[in-house]
Symmetry: D2
Subunit: 336 residues, 4 copies
């Protein structure tokens, strides 16, 4: 079996999961090394997953000749820079979303990729979720006619601690969370967003305002061909991790999404009760495996990644426009 | 039993249902007459429901001394004028939504009501739906903490024929349909909407554009105390009549709404299938009865209506702002 | 409007509901009198519902010439005897289920009805529930092919107090509750039950055993044409009133039943929660109205009742066979 | 990493899946060889999964010193004999259900295992399904009080071809399918079944009767401590693979089971539609992996299997009693 030498940089929750998937579930991948600025964390993860090399920088990882591809799961702020370094080193890249926190950074990253002729896939893993993937097929088959409204909800159970906001490692909610829905919007509607308008709230946690962030946002979308839509994001819904999408068409409507964690329903004197999925690593466990497997197989087969750098840039562009709409209290066109 | 002499003006589908409910299900009401500009329709409905008098104008109905209250179900365009006439005649009034198509008309109607010291209830019947009524109680009890996001969807199965738009008897979608959700927004959030922004579409039926109407709209809402929201309306979803609302709070989320017509689930080689409610008169059958019963009992008991003229005016104000946002492509504040 | 003079005998919860429905929702009925052995209860209900006459015996009610039909809602033990008296008095009859507690009593009741040429309808109201009525149509249309398995569950929230068992006014669980499912079995399968086998339990309330009753039963059914089935009944499930039926056919399966009280779903840190219907008068509110309306219209139109005395007898026969299976620990054929 | 040398005998659908899971998802296992009486099938599977050795008999597989454990997935009829051979060869064993088709064979298998001091786990994989596993915990925690009724449904989409029945490789429906539910009954109720009664049907496919088999069965259960239950099995429900279980207790009820394949809901003019899981390898995909992983880890850790030979024997005993009830038309006690 031909195997792809691979390294993961940044082994927090997300990076650790990618490393674990590579190690346990993707035999065509040879996970050579994990790297993290926190050297102790790199060593711990390497030990747990029986990975040979624990490194303390992306640079160290890129030097290795037995690594052909890297998975970038460092904090969002470093994504674009890491892509540039990896491209310069001639490595193929799977970069977590968002590709960048600004369009300028996104463009620099894409230019570096182009220049080095490496391959870049952006981690919009929802496209690999079996339900979303099937939804895409149904829409393409014409099952719901012409799509006219796109709606998507993304709610996290608990907001990060304030220290997370202080550290400033991620962008605001539109970049860290809604960006998933913006990617779905483009992909499922097979169209580009032309203008957005956002309202936001910090009602339940005013402290985040000082960091330029929000706890909730509703973003109205206008698409180029005349469709419309809305994306809602909320960071502390308490009850679980809740991602649901509806595509309304001229012939029918498609609902995609799961709310329930287990297949159990408990009935007592207090009514009927169901447990809810509490984390994106549970809800999208399969999607992450399928994404990584596709990336590995694509690189081994010398193919073109399915979720391109342009896809990553365009999702960022919508998020950045929503951010501007929030700051300037007006609709913002994507081509401004 | 003390009974309230009552007349219904405008006996299309909605007025006919009100007349039928009064006749069959509300013993405290004495339905004296039905009136319709289409005299034949008035006679037919009167005959079917065994109502003594069939009249061909509101004026004729208002002349009757044995009528103390009127239900106004004439076309939307005539609501405000009918309220003024009925008030001048000293009758108590249940007026279908929307109260008016412009704020000027709404204000004139409210002034007439004030001057004549009659009582006015506006037909936002969803407040009487058992599920919505219970949701209101849960929110007030603090079950979901502080509400931060209000979401509502209203989809009709089939759009009216083009002749309906040509006749110009109703306002645009925001006034004819979204106005229900705007009323829910104020009532369930116990707050006022301060600003709105709308995107609209005629993608699936461009012909309605010439009449200044749309087939789909998404309206973002900002509330005075810092909450946000979104309302979606669509006139031709094909699959049924679909009304759903979510209120997201600091402690939990409340979903209200029914999609299914029957309690049956059919499983065959084609999968599982459920029939969907197809009409608002089915979905809100109970609400209409409870609304009318409450109106009749309130008038008989000399009480104050629960859904006031001000409520009706404010829902119209939101719709009018959304309409302006659509026409002027910008967010519109309610106090402009 | 031609109206049917009617009297209700026995105005506990069930009889009171029938009286209320007659009074408020069925204009073709003229509820002349209510009767109850508890004279005070008869007076209270008559006062509440504004019924002219409150009587203290079935006999007094049967004497009235302005009463053409009676609704029998006295305790189960008295059903068969009441039918005989009413028939002898020439009144048409709607008798609550079960028709009798023994086959001998059922036969005596049917003989009296035959002899007097009155009409008898038995109160298997589930046949009037919109979902069950629609299920019947679907099965008849061949939508699920040939039915091969019938399954039904009936669970009450709370068992009656021990005093109820001591008074001995009802038959055991198979006669008081499962009899509904036995009627559904015959009706939906369009077939007769030929043999039954029952297991029973008093595990959660051993005290009822002394009264010859049980708290839970599972009854296996064999149908004449080769289909099979199972009925489960339980008196104290705590979480609500739960009635569900599945009919499995050669082409598909039909599920009928509702578990939820309101259309709300509450999501909090404890998961998702729904309230459950708690009482048969809530779950089958519509069915009781439709049943009574059909009875009144049928009698006024001189027609034949849809749920016949034979239907009532056959449901009793299955219950009695299940009772015997329980007592004798063996399968029991219906034609023994 | 310490790894367990393992072989799979019988690589039809089920054995192939086990082999694939061992190869791809369980790194602690070293799948040394697959064996099948059909040598070509063994070679094809070995090639596809890159397994070194393809053998054409269990004997050949048992001779290998590098194999410490075997997975038996040959036809049901050969299970007990294969267990005896494997035990005699000193191999640890994971044997698919049912352990045997008769109690005599089951006892012979258990005796061989005892004598050789090898470990035997029986493939009741539902115990490893996350939902069932969680249900077990909830029941043990007392969440639903004392269990009084156990209900389980198992429906396959399509019956096997007649040739399958002719070959006589499996036992009747109670042994091939209901045996899963009988195991759940013992496990979830934490009690033993003391008596059963069965009704059966061949209504939709009379041809299977000549082979002593049925298409549908309902089996009533009595438990030793006084609880009761019912198991329904059907081989050709057309709409999918449907496994659902309810445990009714003194304080509440637990429902376990999934009906839906994808997380999509499609709404069109024909109503709402959902795809249904069509195969046990889809529904229980996770359970099979978790089962195998637990087996491998248990053997490597020198522990005792969680689903024992006795568990396997007792499930068979219930199935055999149900078979006898069907043949002799009477309730059958487990200790006869």
């Amino acid at each position: 079996m031909k195997r792809l030498g691979i390294g993961v940089v940044g082994v927090g929750d997300m990076g650790r999961r990618h490393a674990e998937n590579l190690r346990r579930l993707i035999p065509q991948a040879n996970l050579v090394a994990v790297a993290d600025a926190d050297a102790q964390r790199a060593r711990r993860v390497a030990a747990e997953l029986e990975v040979e090399h624990a490194l303390n920088s992306l640079e160290a990882l890129l030097e290795r000749k037995d690594i052909q591809a890297v998975v970038i799961t460092s904090p969002d702020k470093f994504h674009a820079g890491a892509v540039q370094l990896a491209a310069a080193a001639g490595k193929d890249i799977l970069c977590e979303k968002p590709l960048a926190l600004t369009l300028k950074d996104a463009d620099a990253a894409l230019a570096a990729v182009d220049k080095s002729h490496v391959r870049l896939q952006v981690g919009h893993m929802r496209r690999y979720d079996p339900a979303y993937a099937d939804a895409k097929k149904r829409i393409e088959s014409g099952e719901i006619g012409e799509p006219i409204i796109f709606k998507s909800i993304g709610r996290d159970q608990n907001a990060p601690p304030l220290s997370h906001y202080q550290a400033g490692l991620s962008g605001m909610l539109f970049l860290s969370s809604s960006v998933h829905d913006f990617d779905l919007a483009r992909w499922l509607m097979n169209d580009e967003v032309s203008e957005v308008h956002a309202y936001t709230s910090v009602l339940t946690r005013p402290e985040v305002a000082q960091f330029g962030d929000i706890v909730a946002g509703v973003v109205n979308l206008r698409f180029e061909r005349g469709a419309i839509g809305g994306v809602e994001s909320f960071v502390q819904c308490q009850y679980g991790y809740d991602v649901r999408t509806e595509i309304v068409g001229s012939k029918g409507t498609l609902m995609v999404g799961r709310l329930l964690r287990t297949e159990e329903f408990v009935l007592t004197g207090e009514g009927g009760r169901q447990d809810i999925v509490d984390h994106f690593l549970v809800r999208f466990a399969d999607a992450y495996v399928l994404e990584l497997r596709d990336f590995v197989e694509t690189i081994l087969a010398d193919g073109a990644p399915r979720v391109t750098g342009q896809d990553g840039r365009r999702a960022v562009a919508i998020a950045v426009a929503a951010q501007r709409s929030y700051r300037e209290s007006r609709p913002v066109a994507l081509d401004e």
